[in-house]
Symmetry: C2
């Protein structure tokens, strides 16, 4: 049993608690770990966060949680610097492992914390501190551990990216886009940290330390925000074939390291140029792996909670030190859906003689099989010759599709076996 | 000291050896681990693989390596099924940890291997078996461990993606594109595994087991290759707003799991539609994290070597069980480059009165500061009013840029402080 105390029950805190409670069965199945939420500490324990809590976990006394001998992992999610630092140090000195999402604290004052963690032989996880739900810390520390990192570029502030995307799409100016972001909750009332590149610089500081093993050089990061970008800049950039993004950049050139945050023009056919709205993406070039990119939500309760809980699980594995499965394979009888039973949209390429009523015949047979049409292309018309008739459908069952095609392919006007391709446009982002 | 034996010195074997040897200092710095390449076994130990090896590591006798009591980790990279399986089982029974890139073996016959690893309490790493250099196994097993996975879609066969990309770009047919891929070494002489979706199905099988904890259901995967796709299909798909990609799809709907590999039409504004050539990408939707995407090279000696070595390091950490740093921070004095010293391309927006000779004056001053122009936009011309003059430069030093602007901003024809944006178009993929 691994006991967890969450300190701070705000957005990230409640996301963390939701993921931990709602997916506890899944986590136990996957890892064999029994992780118990023992404490949630917050000054406000009355407000409804929309999550059903076990009896007796709420407390207004953070020390009660941090000093509890049963607690293995303390999760600091109060934000800010002074108090958070005190709590983390106290937890480490109590022999607890710590997880935090506090990028400002780590970037500006992390040396003391990481040192204390090392002295105490405890873990200090911070996956949630950079790029929210994207497991970029794990990718850098473990996945690409064998690589010299040649360069890293990140869109790692959702607020700025939302504002720039909005300015680009709606051709509006910075202030209008900022106001919209504030209404939607994508920007804070005081947006300084986000729009001036400070938040981005905090995250870049942490990434650069992982990438190059350098100290936390937050004060050396060049910071320039997006307030100076005009709709004209965006238009001219577009004419020149570029997009404007707020990038965090670190690269090593001839033994010197660059650390900079500023609006950057990037060719608009690059994958990272397509990252829009509040999404984040980090492009990493390693000497062995080459070009890689990681994309996802950089903020929000559940995405950030996903990252916090992954840290909790990593640490719980170390704490429990149990026998681990290389791969978990249940004996549960899962039903694998037969291809005939799937629902999909379909593209059909019929080859038909160009005679009157062909389309009506085809669409009639499709209709009899509960297949409805969303688009048709029928272009060239050469009398007596076969022409392609292209049909795109709404969702249909594959079994019906196969039956319809079998019937259609028997029509005298159909000259070749009908070809079809499945379409996915619903759940792919 | 962790001793590694690499069995199979082909493409992936030599990539693994290169990464391990060339980045050994980096790996030691980052992890504190001393990893020694003790054996490389291959039938052909004469051929030059372009890598300088330590004395005495080559052997033609795989058993010598696998039975060596000093060896901690056996890396199986011979491919194929029968012999590879025998070697892996023997290594596990000898108490070795194993790393393999053998997706066909694992997908079709992995149960026995994973079971043996579990019985022996040994690790069986296979990061390199899916999507080459992209650390997708780690992402699924650890990074997104707290998520119910709603759906996963992968472009995980570089050969097929190269052929489809080529057919799309050059409007050529399947056979022509395949022949080109073969000439370039992107397709094998017998391309069946790649173009019929078999390789993709192997990888999907492994991903689905990680995602849903189901047995290795390779035989249940619906497989359809790309040989039926015509240039016309690609053209019609384009007219309808879609791209055609060979996708591996797994999703859970109402307790039933879909496992399918087939050409799929995807809206062309989706990020995954932009994945071209031999690149791979996996889109994962989790219930907490939402939409994420992972992109990189799915094959090749060094990218796959990067993944193999990350497995070796993960296992070596478990073997050595030493004190670990949450974050490594060297005391090395690294020089952080000042922003004035960087080299970049620049976008300038000058506000100038529309008088004759303005552009010549500006470009003259830029030239005096070693800044050469690659593009100019100067559009509207209203006499006596300020107009924007947009200039894009080649690589220049920021110090020179700042000096040039200071001089230009003093010109009487310049009405407002000049705005500039840095441009990155060289090292971002």
């Amino acid at each position: 049993m691994i006991n967890v105390a969450v300190i701070g029950f705000g957005t990230v805190g409640s996301g963390t608690v939701k993921v931990l409670l709602q997916n506890s069965e899944l986590i136990k199945e996957r890892t064999g770990l029994d992780i118990r939420l023992k404490w949630i500490a917050d000054l406000d324990i009355e407000k409804d966060r929309g999550v059903k809590l076990p009896e007796g976990v709420l407390t207004t006394d953070a020390y009660k949680a941090i000093d509890d001998p049963e607690v293995n992992i303390v999760v600091e999610l109060i934000g800010g610097k002074t108090k958070a630092k005190e709590l983390i140090l106290r937890a480490l000195r109590n022999g607890k492992n710590v997880v935090t999402a506090n990028k400002a604290l780590l970037a500006e004052d992390g040396y003391e914390l990481f040192k204390e963690a090392y002295i105490q032989s405890r873990e200090l996880g911070f996956e949630a501190a950079v790029a929210g739900g994207i497991p970029i810390i794990k990718v850098l520390k473990e996945g690409l551990v064998a690589n010299n990192i040649i360069a890293a570029y990140g869109i790692i502030n959702g607020t700025s990216n939302y504002i720039l995307s909005k300015m680009t799409k709606d051709k509006i100016d910075f202030n209008t886009a900022l106001a919209e972001a504030q209404v939607l909750g994508y920007a804070e009332q005081d947006p300084t940290y986000d729009i001036e590149g400070i938040d981005t610089a905090h995250k870049l500081t942490l990434m650069a330390t992982l990438v190059y093993g350098i100290p936390l050089y937050y004060n050396e990061v060049y910071k320039e925000g997006i307030t100076g970008i005009t709709p004209e800049d965006i238009t001219y950039a577009h004419e020149l074939g570029y997009k404007i993004k707020l990038l965090a950049i670190t690269k090593m050139i001839d033994g010197e390291i660059e650390l900079r945050v500023h609006p950057t023009m990037i060719p608009d056919n690059y994958l990272i140029s397509r990252v829009e709205g509040v999404f984040n993406a980090i492009y990493i070039r390693g000497d062995a792996v080459g070009d890689t990119l990681y994309y996802g939500r950089g903020a929000g309760d559940l995405p950030t909670g996903s990252a916090v809980v992954s840290d909790i699980i990593d640490i719980a594995k170390v704490c429990s030190n149990g026998k681990s499965y290389a791969v978990r394979m249940d004996n549960k009888a899962y039903k694998i859906k037969k291809i005939e039973d799937i629902l999909a949209m379909y593209y059909f390429r019929f080859s038909a003689l160009d005679k009157p009523g062909v389309l009506s015949k085809i669409s009639g047979i499709l209709g009899e099989h509960d297949i409805s049409i969303s688009a048709v292309i029928q272009k060239e018309r050469r009398k007596g010759e076969a022409v392609p008739v292209i049909v795109l459908t709404h969702l249909a069952r594959e079994k019906n599709v196969l039956e319809a095609i079998a019937t259609i392919d028997k029509l005298p006007v159909i000259t070749t076996k009908t070809h079809f391709i499945r379409v996915e446009n619903q759940s792919i982002g």
